[in-house]
Symmetry: C2
Subunit: 143 residues, 2 copies
Amino acid sequence: MKEGTLNSPSNLCSSEADYDVLQWDVREGCEVRQILDRIADKWSLLVIALLEKRTLRFTQLRNSIEGISQRMLTTTLRNLERDGIIERTVYPVVPPRVEYALSPLGCTLHETIRALVGWTESNQAEILAARARYDAKAASERW
Amino acid sequence: MKEGTLNSPSNLCSSEADYDVLQWDVREGCEVRQILDRIADKWSLLVIALLEKRTLRFTQLRNSIEGISQRMLTTTLRNLERDGIIERTVYPVVPPRVEYALSPLGCTLHETIRALVGWTESNQAEILAARARYDAKAASERW
DNA sequence: CTGGATCCCATAGGATACTG
DNA sequence: CAGTATCCTATGGGATCCAG
């Protein structure tokens, strides 16, 4: 699968190069895509957001993120730890105590995430309005 | 589903409030979460990135994003259009011609996305190193 | 060319029970 | 408390065929 998609020199419909458009993320073999998928998954953003303020324990995180299962919390924490975004500290005491904190790398990420969330907050009314408009128009055209 | 998780006044395990930690995204009933999920899905970011530069037609998008199926491209475009991120223009000509462009709202989003992608690019080496460290340590502990 | 309609599968992710 | 192990379902998303 990959016939004459982009590599045929004689492009038939367009004389200007269509493929110098892509710059960063579309490139295969670059890890940006998979890293983005990782931090943009269902729970990672929330965990990072919560850990900005302070170090938290497993149960505190679970209680703070309503709707997360312990399985997904564990998975999310492992992935973030593996990527060096958060740091996991185990205290060898009888009721086990494990604390999670944002790493320095995670702190820099948080800045960026905050901007994205800020955009979403600022524009959610407009998005909701756009959806309502779209749905109303679609409904009126169907009947 | 939603027993006495956060709303019981007499919290049994913690005397300090655990739940004033969360501020923006964890709140249920707020649309930030679902909007984030939308723009952070597998393809939306790529489409937005491509449309920054110029208006593109359906086939151009499909060719530019290697690996996307026409089904997912259609779905992604519809969702983005519904949210007011992109604008869809149909030219009533015999081979149908449909062009997609970033809306003003979409342009502002693009700024933010660029920051996130920039972070990923700048730190991917560090993340890869962290992963290698983690995997090596995990492997050595298991044997 | 630009999709819509189906079919089908892989994976994400929830529920539950068990362990150190 | 902080997980691990299983099971099972829902959804994302690919392949294919059809239509305006």
